[in-house]
């Protein structure tokens, strides 16, 4: 059965079991491997993508629930890595192994969309669903603040 949805602005028809988690539909069927598997039970956040702008855990989100909706993955965040959050991540050399960072960035983008000036406490709340085993948390906090500054400067100009 085919599920029709928009992925990163492009209309797609995926021939999958509608119950298949969006994560595996993206990775194994659509060939978008930037979204990662880490737990399969919505515990670690490595698979966070946006559906109609809202962050979801793709490992526990049936692909059918995304039918007719807009899915944004890390690959679709910007064409050239120029999103302010991506830039902040590089400016602060946040990634170590990098594996969880797609999910971290997608969660951070969602946070800044609803709260352009988050406090440390806001960040802790919003980002605690994303595990980083390398331990980049303090840099992630700093990078989100940095992205908030850059984003507001960009919005003002």
């Amino acid at each position: 059965m085919a599920v029709e949805l928009t992925i990163n602005g492009e209309g797609r028809s995926l021939d999958v079991d509608p119950q298949m988690p969006l994560l595996w539909a993206l990775r194994d069927v659509a060939g978008l491997t930037g979204t990662k598997y880490g737990c399969g039970k919505a515990l670690c956040g490595a698979c966070v993508v946006h559906v109609d702008g809202e962050p979801v855990r793709a490992c526990a989100f049936p692909v059918s629930a995304a039918a007719g909706r807009d899915v944004t993955t890390i690959e679709g965040l910007s064409a050239d890595g120029s999103h302010p959050v991506q830039k902040a991540w590089r400016a602060l050399n946040v990634p170590q192994c990098g594996y969880c960072q797609s999910g971290q960035i997608m969660s951070a983008v969602a946070l800044l969309a609803r709260n352009p000036k988050p406090t440390d406490a806001d960040i802790d709340t919003a980002m605690s669903g994303n595990i980083c085993r390398c331990g980049t948390y303090t840099r992630i906090r700093a990078a989100i603040h940095e992205a908030a500054v850059q984003k507001s400067a960009g919005d003002a100009s």
């Binding site: 988690p21 595996w24 880490g38 590089r90 192994c97 990098g98 948390y137």
Partner: protein
Amino acid sequence: MNGLVRLSRREFLRQTGRAGGGLAFALVAASALRPAPALAIAVSREAPGGTAGFAPNVYVNIRTDGVVEIVCHRSEMGQGIRTCLPQIIADELDADWDRIELLQALGDEKYGDQNTDGSTSIRRHFDLLRGAGAAAREMLVTAAAASWGVPAAECVTRNHSVHHEDSGRKLGYGELVALTEGIPVPDKPAFKSKADYRYIGRSLDTIDGFDMSTGRAAYGIDAALPGMLHASIERCPVHGGRVRRFDAAAARKVAGVVDVIEMPAPTSPPLFNPLGGIAVLATNTWSAQRGRAALDIEWEPGANAAYDSEKYREELLASARKEGRLVRQRGNVAVARDAAARTHVADYYAPHLAQAPMEPPAALARFGEDGCDVWSCTQNPQATQDTVAGVLGIDKSRVRAHVTLLGGGFGRKSKPDFGAEAAWLARETGKPVKVTWTREDDLRHGYFHSVSAQHLEATLDADGRVTSWLHRSAFPSIGSTFDTTVGGPSNDELGLGLTDIPFAIPNLRLEACDAAAHVRIGWLRSVCNVYHAFAIGSFADELAHLAGKDPHTFLRELMGPARRIDPAEDAATYDNYGQPLATHPIDTARITAVLDRVADMAGWGRVLPEGRGLGIAVHRSFLATVATVAEVGRDKDGGLKVHELWTAIDAGQVINPDRVVAQMEGAGIFGMSLALHGELTARDGGIVQGNFDTYPVVRMSEAPSAIHVHIMEVDAPPGGVGEPGVPPVAPAIANAWFAATGERLREMPLGKARGA
């Protein structure tokens, strides 16, 4: 094999070209998505590069277009080696950072040691890598001088060119390629002086940063080939068990399932071999997992079916309370005990841990007439070759072990069992197969960090000075993974933080106590240093309080006068992480300097808010010394909260300070995870925990407000960096909790009792 052997251009092509078959199978997902690279250095490009040029050794190839190809023969798992390794070579080569291309090496003994483990990449390879760059530079100078008819001594290199200052002539490295034929490789190329370093010691940006922030970075789990099958394997819950019978009828009915195959039974000892079980192969990962869930399997659990962590804990503590094998002795602890003013005894316990890298083990393999290709997130590609060759019964030379990025390693991925699973299934099915471990697989079927018990006894004189120290260490050995007759700690393991204790105590006795293994035991970041440092760092703090002394001052006293320690003087066997004590000494002056620095950073002795405490610990491991201070208090629910961490490290010469800082930040979080939460338990032979709900790790909400890091300026050869940050974290936290609450925690995870 010496990696610094000159290859003729033809040989370079021939040797590296052996992997040419593999190049045709480039990672589909990664290459399809890759845009025009924004950086000169691309991820997942493998050695060999496109064109032969001037290849003075296996790490460097200069192309006629002037691009310097640098081969990274170590695995990138977050420690930054893909940035630091080319920094060293490019510096000695005087290469322009923007004109280098990084290639990832396949497993091949021509590179020398590729096992990315033990924090060895820099400390054991610094001179080799400097030599690779320096030899190339010297040969380019020779070539340029010869073509100009001037003495080589009149020529200098600067930013990718050789210059003859007197005549103002210059030749770029690319132009010189054609002139290098016949120039011999220098035996001992001259290294730069430290003052001339351009890249070494500088915080260059992470080479893979762009790909990692855009989803383009390719890990083992991302590897793909057209027509590949996805495999998920159900393994026996009990270590060493095997399939008695199974019914795959329901599994085969799951949409997408293509095949169900019984894997060969596990070997004894386990080595790096697959664990056996039933593999379900499907057109996608989810179908394979669903098919696997529908399997009906009856297991023959074998000899470890009764393994129970609660029971084992008592056995292990009992073993540590009995006299064990003597490891190191100075003076006589029994005599000291008779003369003591006070005696103190304590037991410490720490459970099994899993490395739990965010990317679980994953590998893709294909098998054909030309042998086997394996793409995997391996820390050890040569062991992947060996293991795959053994499992398939083919020659190692026919196994090409491709190295992807690793989504964390922490020691798990130095064991290539998952690559061998994929290889065996690829041959069995005749199709490319990707094996993806679930998180449950990772936590239940890994190579676990040892459970351990430590028994310590000490005596104090009337002035509160330590007169004797007895330490017994009991834990199942990693050696049991390779030899079923191993019944207790090895000298190598004891050398990880026990044998090398630097304290100036007149009577010292260290012993090793028996412990049987009932699971596969393996390396985890810092290995035995984790529990040795926890016991030693906690016990020293206990003695300080008993003596009525400040813990920092007391540790300084324990270190004693400035001196270099050789455990062999106390008849101990000690290998100093494989490097000479002459170059990497146990130097109490350096240890004390690190300790003093961290105390200074943290404002040791300052007045703290009510209910908070500072704890301090210092530990030398992997030829570096790290001291940590933790500020700890009760959270609103009364649980243990780490507010802030301070860390100082002496790792000798560092290559990229920012990556060292990042490793210390990460070690702080990793150390907190194992101190506060980490615990795997066995019941009826199987591991109880299965995912991050039952095996919690530190999240953002628990991360300290800041982790402050200072790198000591020391003129000494490089030590390790990836692991040494972890050991002092747990004792610093336990000591801080004691300072805050008066309660001593002697069992990890500390949070178990304290609601963290």
